[in-house]
């Protein structure tokens, strides 16, 4: 097992006072899947049954150091990473009072409704949350967070304000590039009232991801006489990135409803604004929970950047932007069976439909060669 980039906090674990009360918990998922043999939207599976892409195991240790101070570390080994173990969470937590907690270390970015327990399949109906929506492939930051909970008459409010930095390999499935999100700041607010829960989240950051192809394109254009100030509108160099998301859910014990929507943008770069949403409906009957979901992901077209370039370059720049356009839908049908107090069996069929052709050479606006892909998965999620 290879442990990478341990935050300083995790080192505290090995030197705990003997008196500390340590709680060990764990969770995992074993998922097998099969799909059409297509390279559709970074398809995780192929025609041969795959075990690794979404199987994972995790251990969490929480030590109460007393006087409102605690340390939590969670180590996760994902099949997708060859079961290399990584610290997903590792932080010190200080409870200022009953309603306010400060945390520092490696924490989860609260992008989505299920972000905090993204890997804990046991905690949600799906085998994995819809991919149209849960499209950002990085999920942790190193920094600080303030959690504040309070009640407004019968509404429970939870606010998480955070700041920090992300160092990651971005675009890992297309053009893997080591990059940084500096000065990341965000806030997530959640309201719960009876069976309803609503949230809204916003994050902004300075994005630095030197994608080789984009850097190369900018350099070529500079040699051809295009000023650096213009080609900087292609490079992801200290550009403002924003994430806006919101969602609503309902769970009365039998009927379960979920909807989420988000928008991701990186200003002044060869990157399109992504919009995505899904709705999910489920119904619990004793230990069975059948569910369906439908989601869409699409990009906004960008025509303003090309217009900044000298006329001879405009068609090429526009083609580079349009080549990134996509629009696809996801339709899922599944069932969760709580066959055990601490384990659930799930089976899920998903159909993906492309609306824009993936072929960059095809003219934007056409709907030819519409592709589809079927995927079938069975998994067991467990906690201990």
């Amino acid at each position: 097992m290879k442990l990478r980039s341990l935050p300083a906090v995790s080192l505290l674990i090995v030197s705990l006072p003997l008196s500390a009360e340590v709680t060990i918990n764990g969770f995992g998922s074993v998922v097998v899947g099969v799909s059409d043999d297509l390279n559709f939207r970074n398809n995780l599976y192929d025609k041969d049954i795959g075990f690794k892409p979404q199987s994972k195991f995790a251990l969490q240790a929480m030590a109460d150091l007393g006087e409102n101070l605690s340390v939590t570390a969670q180590i996760l080994a994902k099949g997708a990473d060859d079961f290399d173990a990584n610290f997903e969470w590792a932080y010190l937590s200080y409870a200022v009072n009953d309603s306010t907690t400060l945390r520092a270390g490696r924490l989860r970015i609260p992008f989505y409704r299920y972000s905090d327990y993204l890997d804990v399949g046991f905690a949600y109906p799906f085998i994995s949350p819809p991919r149209t929506m849960y499209s950002l492939l990085f999920s942790t930051y190193d920094g600080v967070s303030v959690l504040h909970n309070f009640s407004l008459s019968s509404i429970d409010v939870s606010v998480n304000a955070y700041a920090g930095r992300v160092e990651e390999t971005f675009f890992s499935t297309t053009t893997p590039t080591a990059g940084k999100l500096n000065n990341a700041m965000g806030i997530n607010s959640q309201l719960s009232w009876q069976s309803f829960t609503a949230y809204a989240t916003y994050m902004q950051t300075d994005v630095n991801i030197p994608v080789v192809t984009v850097e190369g394109l900018a350099a070529q254009l500079n040699q051809a006489g295009v000023p650096v100030s213009v080609t900087d509108n292609l490079r992801i160099n200290d550009d403002k990135g924003t994430f806006l998301g919101y969602g609503l859910s309902y769970d009365d014990g039998s009927l379960v409803f979920n909807a989420e929507k988000s928008r991701v943008d990186i200003d002044d770069s060869l990157n399109l604004v992504n919009n995505q949403w899904y709705v999910n409906l489920g119904y619990r009957v004793r230990s069975l929970q059948p569910y369906v979901y439908y989601g869409e992901a699409e990009t906004d077209r960008n025509t303003t950047t090309a217009a900044m370039f000298p006329a001879p370059f405009r068609p090429g720049i526009q083609a580079a932007f349009d080549g990134q356009m996509y629009e696809f839908t996801e339709t899922g049908l599944g069932i969760r069976w709580d066959f055990h107090d601490s384990a659930a069996l799930k089976a899920e069929y998903t159909k993906y439909d492309d609306i824009w052709d993936r072929n960059a050479a095809t003219q934007v606006g056409s709907q030819d060669h519409k592709e589809s892909m079927d995927q079938f998965r069975v998994g067991i999620d467990f906690i201990f």
């Binding site: 709680t23 969770f27 905090d116 327990y117 046991f122 959690l147 619990r284």
Partner: protein, 138 residues
Amino acid sequence: MKSIFKVTGAVLFGMSLAAQAEVAVIVHPSNGDSLSQDEIQRVFLAKTKTFPSGAQAVPIDFDDGVAVKDMFVSNVLSRDTSQIKAYWAKLVFTGKANPPKTVATDSEMLSLIAANPNMIGYIDAAKVTADVKVVGTF
């Protein structure tokens, strides 16, 4: 979440007995709060850490497999065991809260509640003693 296998028999046996029984939510005799079912849920689901009076509230639960726990989960928390497990998984694996401390027997429960004004627990209604105060029967 521990040693589920050896208690399965006890659970099945307990469930058949428990079908007619009621669960009593109990506090220290000096506790003057009256608690609605919703307020009891909030304490046991770590949504609040205080009684309506403002005093600290420390919930005490039973170990998995104790028959009265299943009754408490369905009658008082209005959920089933796997929903409760999923609920705690969300809080535990995000470091937000841990489930209540647990006891294994009725006598442990009674002696803890009788000795601690901040604690709140529950027991089979037939086993309530004068050392504790019942705030609700479900």
